[in-house]
Subunit: 240 residues, 2 copies
Amino acid sequence: MATVAPHDSHASQNGELPSIESNGNTATRDRLLVAALEVFAAKGYGQASTREICKHAGVNVAAIHYYFGDKATLYREVFRIPERLVHLPAELDDPATALSDGLRVWYSHVMSFVLAPDNGSHIRLLFLREQVQPSGLLDTNRAGILRPYHAQLLRFLMPRIGIDTPDPRAHQLVFSLVGIAMVLFVERAAVRILAPGILDSEPQVAATVEVLVGYAQALVAAECAHRRDAKKTNTNKEKS
Amino acid sequence: MATVAPHDSHASQNGELPSIESNGNTATRDRLLVAALEVFAAKGYGQASTREICKHAGVNVAAIHYYFGDKATLYREVFRIPERLVHLPAELDDPATALSDGLRVWYSHVMSFVLAPDNGSHIRLLFLREQVQPSGLLDTNRAGILRPYHAQLLRFLMPRIGIDTPDPRAHQLVFSLVGIAMVLFVERAAVRILAPGILDSEPQVAATVEVLVGYAQALVAAECAHRRDAKKTNTNKEKS
DNA sequence: TTGCTTGATTCAAGCGTTTGCTTTAGTGTG
DNA sequence: CACACTAAAGCAAACGCTTGAATCAAGCAA
């Protein structure tokens, strides 16, 4: 009955990404993807209407059905955008990187998305939404853009706090390191009011990053100290 | 034309809260409020339908119009619930409270809402939603349940880090103290997967609180150290 | 060049459903 | 009767999605 449309002619058997130059009029498809990213980020899945997305993209409402099949598939496809865009800083995986340098690189990387409302910040907002209100449309293992950040930070820290397998405290340390930055995103409205002059310009963000690095070092040092004490106690116990 | 309905016969001239035993059938009104709290928390303002709220409350759809006028007013009224429920721990305002004790009280208070999906946790989720996606329906000065927490924590810390008026760094310290706890809420799905055994039972939460208290003390100490150094540098500069 | 075919893409219109809200009729109590 | 309240039906608008026709470029024979 219906013509074989692009959206299901994509060979999804192989795991590779549907190339951005797949088939069909990629200009329309891409404009739709970008528009969907922006509208989904601004309003969330449920509140974003297909009509608005199409109007924003300058295409007909039928284009969503034609290229993606339905709204849910378009949403899932939008979530695949970061697979092409997110690059984690490589310094963190270098064993020679000093603790403070690695932390500085990491926080600079994360906080760079505070300024400049480009695609990147839209993607972050989208993932944050998915945390607060899971749409149920995504594979759970893909949801959570913070997952790779967490994993990389954990890899970076483990040797530097003297362990080789993660334990609950190590995870909580990483969560705390993430948290002192994330709160500035989530509470950004409050930050703007209570502490203006923290995130409003490039040099301010740089200064904020330095504070974060200092705090992070304190957290890591506290964790190291705690582990030393625990070890000492254990050794004493074994002696007695 | 329309009967003078309860929703606009409430004396809103005086600033006092509309008593929960105002007029009309308070049972229906309250069940509507509680149901709205739960549905709004679960789905957000836009995705929550008035029909679902009424069905959940076991009342007719016309009841919303009768008691509140419309959906937006109901939403605003739901946001007034915490004014009757949120009690901040008083120990924090006692100058004699030790730093570690105050932090422990505060984190215990905050983390108590992680367990037990009662009204409290619904309220938190609701406010978190409003942070991520402001509905535009609330007065900006009321939005942000974290505001009083932030203010109280700031009051508690200022004398303990040796200042008497807040500055940007003090605010960022408070944000960081809030952040290491908030990340466990926002990223709770990730926490459950990556670090099971952190938030799943009462004793686990207690242990997590202890870790948070330790980290918080480290952050405060780092801030104090930084301020000492800065002061010393300033003094040296003045001498030269 | 010309006319024709074919497949891909876009378009306007409209389908059925759900939305927030209203209306009208009704119920029970003082 | 008067009043506070509830129930059921329905309205206009917006929703996701579908449809059939219009448009366009490419290929090809005459």
